[in-house]
């Protein structure tokens, strides 16, 4: 363990237990400020979730997930199209983003010569891409769809391209982090036994980095599932009443349906939107739970 890590751990322990030997006013005030920040963040989130859950509670029924949206019967409107649409989007976003992201990260980490200007340029761009507003990726996806010759972009493919572009930087950065944390000795051992760089990467480094890669990927996906802005730009319709059947199917997404209903003047629709927010939260929490499970299952210590 490096000196920096152990020092950081020591500091954290002192702050979190409050058992510091330093009893000066300054440090007590700072400790108070830290606690307040923590409390504030958690409380706001909690109040928000509880408030939404209470507002949506009249609509926690099966119609909420099995029925299509209904304007004629607002009291039993459902989000089936949005939920299915979001699930399809997630699968195809992962199919596009994960292999690309992992490949790019492996290249940058294991093969690229960091002194070359083009590699440095790529790296600089990656950092910047992670901070680009989500809506810009929607515009990018529209352009990509147009270049590929698709007349309509409001389909599974268009949405998945937008979301894949959105989370690609996140996946690349976390994968690089994970690959970098694999001890150098593993690689050296493999190379010393006569393996090529490719064999070492494929058989040793990559499998050892799975927990980190999986966690980063799934956290990226849980960000993507809650996005509405790029999907609106891509042209996903707000109202769909059939199930997706393929990548060329028109779909809608859960966050878009929620967005559209929250400003509706009819009480029933806003209640349904609140309930749908809870459904979306459960989907995101499910993904995060999966990330934690994978990390724990494959975690190794050296």
């Amino acid at each position: 363990m490096s000196v920096a890590t152990s020092t950081a751990r020591e500091v954290t322990r002192t702050v979190s237990t409050g058992r510091s030997k330093d009893k000066s006013l300054g440090s007590l005030v700072f400790l108070g400020a830290l606690w307040f920040s923590l409390f504030f963040g958690v409380m706001v989130l909690l109040v928000l979730i509880v408030d939404t859950a209470i507002e949506g509670s009249p609509r926690f029924d099966s119609a909420l997930i099995t029925e299509y949206g209904s304007r004629v019967r607002p009291e039993s409107t459902g989000f089936r199209a949005g939920i299915l649409g979001s699930l399809w989007l997630m699968v195809f976003t992962a199919l596009f983003a994960v292999p690309l992201g992992i490949a790019a990260a492996l290249y940058l980490e294991e093969f690229a010569d960091g002194d070359r200007w083009w590699n440095r340029l790529i790296e600089l761009n990656l950092q910047n891409l992670a901070a680009v507003p989500a809506i810009v990726y929607g515009l990018l996806a529209v352009a990509v769809m147009a270049l590929m010759g698709f007349g309509r972009s409001g389909i599974v493919l268009g949405g998945a391209i937008a979301l894949a572009l959105l989370i690609l930087p996140v996946i690349i950065i976390t994968t690089r982090e994970a690959v970098r944390s694999v001890p150098q000795e593993i690689r050296q051992g493999s190379l010393a036994l006569g393996a090529t760089v490719w064999q070492t990467t494929w058989r040793q480094t990559l499998p050892s980095a799975v927990p980190g890669i999986a966690t980063g990927t799934i956290l990226g996906l849980s960000r993507a599932i809650g996005e509405a802005a790029p999907l609106i730009v891509v042209g996903l319709a707000g109202s769909v009443r059939f199930d997706p059947t393929g990548v060329m199917s028109e779909i809608t997404a859960l966050p878009m349906m929620i967005y559209s209903l929250t400003s509706n003047s009819q009480e029933e629709f806003r209640t349904a939107a609140s309930a749908a927010i809870i459904v979306l939260l459960i989907m995101i929490l499910g993904l995060n739970a999966l990330a934690i499970y994978i990390r724990n299952k494959f975690q190794k210590t050296w």
Binding site: Y68, G69, S70, R71, V72, F92, L95, F96, V98, P99, F150, G151, R152, G154, I155, R203, Q204, L206, P207, S208, V210, I232, G235, L236, A237, G238, S239, V240, R241, F242, G246, V247, M248, S249, E250, T252, S260, T262, S263, N264, S265, E267, R270, F298, K300
Partner: protein, 318 residues
């Protein structure tokens, strides 16, 4: 040992991913043509104001013909026409007539279309029933609701108005009603109204607020006023030709301006004639227009206007 098992799991996994990726890129792109006239599919986009109507039409149609897949978007009247004239949609919802430059783009792309009026949208300015104000000019509305407005008392608008403090009620900035007021009635460059008013997305809250506060005023869709005529007083609007009371008639004949506007759908003629699904949807839409307008909370067309819409529809087929 552990390492090997992970690798064994991972390698086929990634291979499967790659396979699936290439598979879906190839097969699905071929059989399902996008763009021009997919049978059984109808693409509608455009005004978010008309969205509830087109959405309701899609839902009601589903009960009769479950095989017609209708998608309805709400990317705005302008965005709708852009897609419509690029041949990406079959029908465009609009809360205003098509502009000349939009029509030129459509013409250049060789898209013939037909305009069908489907309903009338009207705002109503209401006040507390006891307030001695009956009519506002358009300038006074702008003075009262404009983004820079500081008006706090009725007598600031007109010395003959009572010395009574104003409480303002209006819809939230996300709503189409707000957009209409800000962009079309006030017409400020910022497309906003003043911000210091009680806002609610729930029109019932606005009704209660105005009805229960002396000197209060607010605005919302005409149909909500219609349901609450007992507890509210509607202001007449003077746009230069004298005060005009809000009613279904004045909204439709154009005299209740600028607080009333016609709503349209634009139908691509070629799609209507070639694509059975589009024809089914549009015919159903116009046939059940009164019911659909009611679901969307708009003023249904008068018999005369409905007749015009019907004959315009017949004109597409020939």
């Amino acid at each position: 040992m552990k390492l090997t098992s992970i690798r064994r799991a991972l390698v086929p996994g990634i291979a499967a991913l790659a396979l699936a990726l290439s598979a879906c890129g190839g097969s699905d792109a071929g059989d399902d043509t996008s763009g021009d006239g997919v049978s059984g599919k109808v693409a509608v986009d455009g005004s978010s104001t008309v969205f509830p109507m087109s959405d309701a039409a899609a839902e009601l149609l589903l009960e009769e013909t479950p095989d017609v897949d209708v998608t309805v978007g709400e990317s705005g009247t302008g965005g709708g026409f852009e897609a419509f004239c690029a041949d990406k949609t079959d029908i465009s919802d609009a809360s205003r007539p098509i502009k000349d430059e939009e029509a030129a783009i459509c013409e250049e792309a060789g898209i013939d279309y037909t305009e069908l009026q489907v309903a009338t949208d009207a705002l109503t300015m209401v006040v507390h029933p006891d307030l001695a104000v009956d009519c506002l000019t358009v300038d006074q509305i702008i003075q009262l609701w404009g983004p820079d407005s500081k008006v706090k008392n009725w007598n600031e608008l007109d010395p003959s108005f009572p010395d009574q403090e104003i409480s303002l009620y209006g819809p939230g900035t996300d709503s189409g009603t707000y957009d209409y007021m800000a962009a079309d009635v006030i017409g400020a460059e910022s497309e906003s109204t003043r911000a210091d008013y009680q806002s609610s997305e729930d029109d019932n809250v606005l009704v209660q607020g105005v009805a229960g506060t002396e000197g209060a005023t607010g605005y919302f869709g005409y149909t909500y006023y219609e349901e609450n005529t007992d507890s509210l007083k509607a202001l007449s609007i003077d746009s230069g030709n004298g005060c005009v009371e809000p009613s279904a008639e004045t909204a439709q004949d154009g005299s209740y301006t600028p607080l009333a506007r016609p709503l349209f759908i634009y139908v691509n003629n070629a799609k209507y004639n070639d694509n059975e699904a589009v024809k089914t949807y549009v015919d159903f839409y116009i046939e059940n227009l009164a019911e659909i307008a009611e679901v969307g909370k708009f003023i249904p067309l008068s018999d005369e206007l409905y007749g015009e819409t019907q004959s315009a529809l017949e004109g597409i087929g020939s």
